[in-house]
């Protein structure tokens, strides 16, 4: 069967499944729309949280980020999982006990301030909107590559599917679709990894194969990889090469940012009990870890596979010839991906061979001159194609490729839906009901939530079709905002009875402004090119890159909030009682019944 037809079957079947779930799980009340009626089993919620959290970045980009950098990018692995410890210990159970629908609602009630709620809503909408652009462009790319339709058509199809289950189903529809999407994406990620691990190491578990022996040479896989990449002038894979301070701060920023992302936090509102919220965070990390334990193996094995494809007889023998690439079916994937513009090569020295090496390394100059090389001839290798092209590189059957196509789309769509839900509930519950029209009926609120969702999808689709030039940099912005504003406010709201309305607002604004300014100083004001005064290669503060600043922004938030609170009035008695009640699980059912 033609590969295109296989891809179409897999993607079509998965979409039919999501629509089917949407029809089954329509939301009839605001409680169902915002929190799936608080009836989701902790394991089910854990699975949905995992799909919600693992975006196009986790599925498509992360293994590539690790493959081409090695140890130094372990920050992504530790940062994006370590945040769940913070979430489980410091936020999830208490916010579930509070028993309302949105993150900003907690901030508004706890700090008895409409301003605090408004600041939180703005942070939430900006963080979620910038994050959703990346998901929508991911949907377009996956469609464009696997279904041979234009980016625009792909994006519109994706938007219609999200519309179907998110607008009608709300949190209930999104939750159950995310469970299905998790199953699709984890199979799509692990099946090719198992095949490749078997081929390279003989071990069917990729996470173990990574630390096992390379079957062909008998040496440990990572030692083999270190050897082969250093022979080509690249940095050793397992060595710590990057700046330590920046690596620590970057990891910490990813952790705090993860714990502060509203679309993840609000998933814990859907479970029936406080104790379920605690278990559910653990289950979420189990399902996330299945991918995150596999990802470093995928990265290392793909790096080894690709390097060996260019040097089939070892790095001291002749490189692969242009003729082989064009005629050998094992190299077909290179021709397919060349068409997308994400992969390219050029025989610069005209010897009919493609030499792939690090021409920026001065130590390679002598070797290159002696061998007659005139530069790296693999001129373009976009890191994002690594996971998508992996099954083709390893020569896996056509159905695996179809599955990976469906998996990439599942990852992007599930995260997009979660983000859109966070945006629409912020608009309808916090802005319309909370600020503009408190007397709105439940029916009216449900309708406005659906309209807000439809508008959010339209805006996200538009931004996906016309991505602003800064699209790639906005993820840093989303994490920076979540880390510097939302996480500290939530944590202080639960763990301190001293922080008052003035302290919280001042803290959030200080963390937010300083973080924004630091990002703008390095990336350009409002991301306009050439307006930056510093670069991440030579940052303002020592070695701290703008992507690592979220942790410092959070520290500023904590410090300012304490300073301002200690100079202003103590908490009113009823807020003290609120904090006391949030700290104990008993009575969580009562909070639920208020709605």
């Amino acid at each position: 069967m033609d590969q295109f037809v296989i891809n179409l079957l897999f993607v079509g079947a998965s979409f039919a499944l999501y629509i089917g779930i949407a029809i089954w799980a329509r939301a009839g009340s605001t409680s169902e729309f915002y929190a799936a009626g608080r009836g989701v089993h902790p394991v089910t919620n854990g699975m949905a949280t995992a799909a919600d959290w693992m975006s196009a970045a986790s599925f498509i980009s992360m293994a590539g980020l690790i493959a081409f950098v090695g140890y130094d990018n372990s920050s992504f692995l530790m940062g994006w999982t370590g945040g769940y410890v913070l979430l489980a210990l410091l936020l999830a159970p208490y916010l579930r006990k509070f028993g309302k629908f949105t993150v900003s609602e907690f901030i508004g009630d706890r700090f008895y301030s409409k301003t605090a709620r408004l600041v939180a809503v703005i942070c939430l909408i900006v963080a979620s909107t910038t994050y959703v652009i990346g998901q929508m462009t991911g949907v377009g790319v996956a469609f464009g590559r696997f279904l041979e339709v234009s980016n625009t058509a792909g994006l519109l199809i994706g938007a219609c599917v999200v519309f179907a289950y998110a607008v009608f189903g709300g949190m209930k529809g999104v939750t159950y679709t995310q469970v299905a999407q998790y199953v699709v994406l984890i199979l799509a990620y692990t099946i090719p990894a198992i095949f490749i691990s078997l081929q390279l190491t003989g071990n069917p578990i990729p996470g173990l194969g990574l630390f096992g022996d390379h079957a062909a040479s008998g040496e440990p896989l990572l030692a083999k990889l270190d050897q082969i990449v250093t022979e080509l002038g690249f940095a050793e894979y397992t060595t710590h090469n990057a700046d330590t301070l920046n690596m620590v701060l970057f990891t910490l920023s990813l952790m705090i940012g993860t714990a502060g992302l509203p679309h993840v936090i609000m998933r814990f509102f859907t479970v029936p009990k406080v104790s379920d919220a605690r278990w559910s965070a653990g289950w979420a990390l189990v399902f996330i870890a299945l991918l995150y334990i596999t990802a470093p193996a995928v990265g290392a094995m793909a790096r080894l596979n690709i390097t060996e494809m260019f040097w089939p007889n070892g790095t001291d023998q002749a490189a692969v010839s242009v003729e082989t690439i064009e005629s050998d079916p094992n190299y077909d994937w290179m021709l397919t991906w060349q068409k997308t513009g994400l992969l390219d090569w050029e025989d610069k020295n005209g010897d009919g061979l493609i030499q792939y090496y690090n021409d920026a390394n001065p130590e390679m100059a002598d070797k290159a001159a002696a061998a007659g090389w005139t530069g790296n001839e693999l001129t373009k290798f976009n890191r994002d194609i690594l996971v998508l092209a992996n099954p083709e590189i390893a020569n896996l059957p056509g159905w695996v490729i179809g599955l990976v196509a469906a998996g990439g789309l599942a990852a992007a769509l599930s995260t997009a839906a979660g983000l859109l839900l966070a945006i629409s509930s912020a608009v309808s519950h916090d802005l319309i009901k909370g600020q503009l029209n408190p007397g709105i009926s439940e029916k009216g609120e449900l309708l406005s939530a659906r309209i807000a969702m439809a508008v959010a999808i339209a805006v996200a689709t538009y931004l996906g079709l016309n991505p602003p030039g800064f699209a790639a940099q906005t993820v840093a912005l989303a994490f920076g905002l979540a880390a510097a504003s939302i996480f500290p406010a939530l944590m202080m709201g639960i763990f301190s009875t001293r922080i008052n309305n003035h302290g919280a607002v001042a803290g959030m604004l200080a963390g937010l402004v300083v973080t924004l300014v630091y990002i703008f100083l390095h990336k350009g004001w409002f991301f306009i090119p050439d307006t930056n005064s510093f670069t991440d290669a030579d940052p303002l503060l020592g070695t701290v890159k703008s992507t690592s600043f979220g942790a410092i922004g959070a520290a500023i938030n904590f410090a300012v909030a304490y300073a301002v609170s200690s100079m202003t009035k103590e908490l009113p008695q009823e807020i003290r009682a609120l904090v006391e009640s949030v700290r104990v699980p008993r009575g969580a059912g009562a909070a639920q019944a208020e709605h």
């Binding site: 690790i66 140890y71 372990s74 692995l77 530790m78 999982t81 370590g82 769940y84 410890v85 489980a88 210990l89 410091l90 159970p93 996470g207 990574l210 630390f211 096992g212 040496e219 440990p220 896989l221 990572l222 030692a223 083999k224 270190d226 397992t238 710590h240 330590t244 690596m247 620590v248 990891t251 910490l252 009990k273 406080v274 104790s275 605690r278 278990w279 965070a281 653990g282 990390l285 189990v286 870890a289 995150y292 334990i293 470093p296 944590m491 202080m492 763990f495 301190s496 009875t497 001293r498 003290r576 700290r583 104990v584 699980p585 008993r586 009575g587 969580a588 059912g589």
Partner: protein, 86 residues
């Protein structure tokens, strides 16, 4: 952050578990995975050292253990202090 916890044994016990969990959380990731990696470089794991394993796999497994341990301990504590949900 424990400014108003006098006389509240349940909350104090909770804060104790959280503190210990976060100490371990930081030790395996920032400690073993990054800052203390040179000290662990003598312990070989599959072609590299223990610090690399912690950075790419070990820390995630410890995070899992921490969350499940916290859920289990807190549910026990809830019943002990009679603040669990009926």
């Amino acid at each position: 952050m424990s400014d108003d916890t006098n006389g509240n044994a349940y909350w104090a016990a909770n804060l104790r578990i959280i503190t210990w969990s976060l100490v371990i959380w930081a030790l395996v990731s920032f400690g073993f995975g990054i800052l203390l990696r040179p000290l662990l470089s003598a312990i070989p794991v599959g072609g590299t050292d223990l610090g690399f394993w912690f950075a790419q796999q070990g820390s995630i497994l410890v995070f899992l253990a921490l969350i499940f341990n916290y859920a289990w301990q807190m549910n026990k504590l809830d019943r002990q202090y009679g603040v669990d949900e009926q």
